[in-house]
Symmetry: C2
Subunit: 314 residues, 2 copies
């Protein structure tokens, strides 16, 4: 296989685009795809200050690299979740620190245990009804939203790639979770006071392309998936979608992009779908669908936890 | 594994229902499921004359058997498509004839080649742009609709099982074909003059349950899939859904039934979705979305075919 642009040996063959590229052209092409997504969905401009949520994995570190190369004003945030297995969280943090140092670019760390008294596995153990993954999602959403607003960033960027989005879409459509279907989007606007604008600039790129980009650019990332994600259903859904993609190159991309189109055209969901009533949390002030205190604040409420546990036991 | 009802050895384990049944209880249970579907979706009553489309396969012959056992007034129709491979159509017809003779129940045959001058493979070959499968679907829909109305039946029943419906749903949701999503249903009402009422009484039953039913009841059916269906994408989608089902028993059923619920609740698809404007075909008088002559009548229009071919070549 040769590079479609220069005829040199290709490092990657992207069947869905009928495009093979050498290393040099590939690392040029990826930021072009990101730039196209940023413009198509009006994500942000060079004037915006962008906060990027980095985990130490290939997607978020590559996104950081790409946004810097594209000349955007971007800073990182790493949330240390306190996952102890093989020092997962600490090793991830070191990858982020090394990247930031090498690129001389600012970033901040929020250490969940230091800030709130318990790591994610600890709080999940105490709140028996909650899985570590749903606890983690809740905590990250809250902290990222809070920091983005408090530090005056215009937008929060995350490293979700096309495989991530297609797997979530697949999960939501298997259950016909129409509320989630209504809200899954490349851009979540700051539609309510206290809600930060959130964007996903990697939604045009497959996971394997992001892995190849990190490799070619020499980005040192944490290879291991989070130990809690083993056997996760999203990984299973990704496998099924990979079978579809193998059978019909471009199927994953078409699946996700056609969903966005059908919804935007008003063909898929009724007009009022997915607009939850938001209240203000009585403790932290963030928007919440709950009537009084938000789920995040209730996580740290030890009395309520004891109450829930006794209910669980009875 | 023992029968949940009597403790005898079970012939089938239905994990999605946490139910194992012996042969006797299984052949009692299947018609109960069909009766539940007939009532839940108001398909028909014992007063209705039901025409059942039979292919000679396990699903339609079993459905015929079940409806007779349930005491419905039902007659069969077999469409001989003229598929020559291993005498596929003729062998299928013999299975239908044998079943009807054994049950002393009326049925009629429409032979496509005798009636219209060409078999399905022949017409598909002439109309180069059309696959045999889409030609076959079009021809069957037209003839079944026409005969149901002409012979004064209240309703047409087909043997689509839950796997069939889930695979079609999967295909339509992979492409977000919202028009098809709006119209896929256990009951298609006679919503327009010239449209027969159509029902699918097997939608609560998995394919493997129908195969087991035919086996236990000693129904002699044609085992082979249609030779044209080899490598069909619906078979591939069924495989993917089977993987889902293996991972999570009941997933296929939940996927399909939850879709029906979300749509009925108005959470999925806008209110006016899937209501095409229907015209009357200038040749046969059947309803059609086409402006002048319907696709079925155009199939047999040799002049137009020649025209299409010359376009295709140019």
């Amino acid at each position: 296989m040769k590079c479609t642009k220069c005829g040199q040996p290709a490092v990657i063959n992207m069947r869905q685009h009928r495009l093979g590229l050498c290393a040099d052209h590939f690392v040029e092409w990826v930021p072009q795809q990101v730039q196209r997504a940023i413009e198509k969905y009006d994500m942000f401009t060079p004037e915006d200050r962008v906060l990027i949520a980095v985990s130490g994995g290939k997607d978020s570190l590559s996104l950081w690299d790409i946004l810097l190369r594209l000349g955007y004003s971007v800073e990182g945030i790493y949330i240390n979740l306190g996952i102890p297995h093989d020092s997962y969280s600490d090793v991830s943090q070191q990858k982020v620190e090394a990247f930031a140092a090498a690129h001389d670019t600012p970033f901040r760390v929020v250490n969940v245990k230091r800030e709130y008294g318990e790591s994610i596995p600890e709080v999940a153990r105490r709140k028996r009804g909650r899985s570590p993954c749903s606890t983690c999602g809740l905590v990250k959403r809250h902290i990222l939203n809070e920091v983005t607003l408090r530090e005056g960033f215009g937008v929060l960027a995350t490293g979700h790639n096309l495989d991530d989005e297609a797997a979530v879409l697949f999960q939501n459509s298997l259950h016909w979770a129409t509320g989630y279907l209504a809200r899954q989007a490349p851009v979540l606007p700051a539609s309510h006071a206290g809600l930060a604008r959130k964007v996903k600039p990697l939604i045009r790129l497959y996971e394997r392309e992001m892995a190849a980009y990190a490799l070619v650019r020499g980005i040192d990332y944490i290879y291991e998936e989070c130990p809690f994600s083993r056997g996760a259903t999203t990984l299973f859904y990704k496998e099924l979608l990979d079978q579809l993609e193998a059978e019909s190159p471009g199927a994953k991309q078409q699946y996700y992009l056609e969903f966005l189109r059908a919804r935007a055209d008003g063909r898929l969901l009724p007009a009022d779908a997915g607009k939850p009533v938001l209240n203000q949390c009585q403790k932290c002030g963030q928007p919440t669908t709950a009537p009084g205190t938000c789920s995040f604040c209730r996580l740290w409420d030890v009395e309520e936890a004891a109450h829930e546990d006794s209910n669980g036991d009875s």
